[in-house]
Subunit: 430 residues, 2 copies
Amino acid sequence: MTRSLCASLAAVYDTAPEARVTLEGWIHRRRQLATVVFVVLRDRSGFAQVVVTEPAVREQIVGLPEETVVRVTGRLVADAKAPGGVEVVEPEFVTLGAPALPTPVELWRPTLGATLPTVLDHAALTWRHPARQAVWKIAAASLSGFRRHLDEAGFTEVATPKIVDGSTESGANVFALDYFGTTAYLAQSPQLYKQMLTGVFERVYEVGPVFRAEPHDTTRHLNQYTSLDAEFGFIDSHRDVLAVLRDTLAAMVESIRSTAAVTALGIELPEVPQHIPVIHFAEALDIAGAAPDEPDLAPEHERLLGKWALERFGSDFLAVEGYPAAKRPFYTHPQPGDPRWTNSFDLLFRGLELVTGGQRLHNHADYLAALTARGDDPDRYPAYLEAMRHGMPPHGGFAIGLERWVSRLLEVDNVRWATLFPRDTHRLRP
Amino acid sequence: MTRSLCASLAAVYDTAPEARVTLEGWIHRRRQLATVVFVVLRDRSGFAQVVVTEPAVREQIVGLPEETVVRVTGRLVADAKAPGGVEVVEPEFVTLGAPALPTPVELWRPTLGATLPTVLDHAALTWRHPARQAVWKIAAASLSGFRRHLDEAGFTEVATPKIVDGSTESGANVFALDYFGTTAYLAQSPQLYKQMLTGVFERVYEVGPVFRAEPHDTTRHLNQYTSLDAEFGFIDSHRDVLAVLRDTLAAMVESIRSTAAVTALGIELPEVPQHIPVIHFAEALDIAGAAPDEPDLAPEHERLLGKWALERFGSDFLAVEGYPAAKRPFYTHPQPGDPRWTNSFDLLFRGLELVTGGQRLHNHADYLAALTARGDDPDRYPAYLEAMRHGMPPHGGFAIGLERWVSRLLEVDNVRWATLFPRDTHRLRP
């Protein structure tokens, strides 16, 4: 017995009309009419329609609620009204597990009629809904496009520790744990490690979980999220980082474009401009109508800037460079000629901060000065500073938040819609 | 100025002999002779030889110790004695950072003459050694081969929570942390999540960190390692899992074969047999000379079995199936007809347990019975059991430990040699 996939039935029919096929999947929907039952079967590829007329089999179907897992064997016939133009007739059903109980949310409805808390409480089931599956397919395609592009550009994938000692980039908002009698922390980012590894492999990336113990309960924050990190050497400035970021995002969009999920969700993919428009932070404050001494952009400023970039440049993306040194981490490279500003940027996507990136310091002496100026202790970073002491190239990098990226692409109102099993201040399960 | 890569110089010379080229990288080695200095430059691609004869430049080189990062511009000439058959003459050097201080371990020597603790203490530097870089390139190629194969086989990549509530698969050896006033734990594996997601996407994989608070200090254990997890539905038994594992490992080996690291390290890649030999656990005890009531295989048994498989089948791989139910987690599917045993396996690679895999239970009632029989509480797993209640296919999967895989491939005596920044009971930094 060879299994066919639902989405391939039209192709099977083209080469072997009237073939007997075997499908395996979930009973997505049963529609019982007077003399016929239509069963929609769901597998990883999509859907197939199965037409049941034989009374004994119709009787059997009554005992197989939606979501029951079955094997169906039947004959393939053409039917213009069926999805894909073919359907399965004269079916035999074999159950592959116990009949499913009725689900708390009806998964066969075109739209999942449930609030976000319900969807999250029953995530293991609600992700089965085709529209939810498509959301995650966008995320998975993004990961694949990110890696493929960087692999081709000579980057090396790395895997860094998620349990770290005190030398995190910022002491605030870290989760602490007992590590064999010592207090350790969950890594807020692979920042320090990816920089050290740039001294090894020159170009590195990592896709992995990062942990923020921020007590924020907003639509934009998660306490664990997936960070797409890249870092590389031999740059002239943060503008080189932005150029690699631009190409990476374009590759991610192309990877998404090749999925069936794009059509299923009817989403409009952004154009990534050949050159993403860049404005200086001081200019951004002015455009957003903020006071010139504001040290950061508020969400409302970002929204306004997103609108402005769309009107002015027709671009969903806007880079704001030169963020004030006071608001950037110690490793940030100053703006040459004016150290109030930095060679760093945020990339706004449709009015939301999506990526932080920039050039880093690369000389040991500059690190000592930067740490001392901030009242931080260089002894907290022995391995990191050792790397800087023994030859580091000018380098920089960026980090993309996967869930933010997907949620802005889909224009959903909460990053949790784009997270398989979100972690927030109130949610530790499922 | 266009940068050339060291490894590409021969190709550049073929199309443009005597071309002026610009290279960027680390001064890997200086050899000062009476009238000439040979500089070996290292970049992400490999090495290039630069010949310095001009006295002023020779003088400049004195101030540029090994590991200093430079830009070199010079003329390309053929020289049969140089690596790649070409070298750079009449060079100009520009430093791209401060001169490097002498490294604690000499990185230019063909062999890194340092003990494991020293290598790990200075990991950010010692990974720069070409032989160390090659080790990680094997790891990175393994990840890439794993993903490529499963992508082609219709798997969906997922990202699951690493902070979990009490419902871990086993309560023992977990790291606990304070999560906004609640005790949470670091995930020991994505097991329960990958099963739930098999109910969604049918075939899933995840590459990510897993955390084990085991107080073991052995050459085989780490407290954080990289787990290559796969799980999929519509299987007949664990033998289907083993078949997918076989093809995945073969793809990983092919991915590794395409790297320069294989040649650099002179490693012999294993043949993955078309059908990996399989023996039952009871048979394995007998072959290893263990008592027939032993509940598990000891490392010495695994070594003997590895030797036996090599002699008997010429295979570096041996699958042992049917592990006793008492030693397997609650979700393990029993062996049909004899529930003392299970539909699970360990895959031994060169005498070391590399992969654990098997078929899982998929019916809600079976889970309730299995948990109750073990004195575990079904209420600890609400979301997981909800998935099982609403239609799960027969399914199974496996998990490969990345660091073990690489360390056995390289036949090194400690898994830490294959880990970028290992975490063990004594090591929390770098």
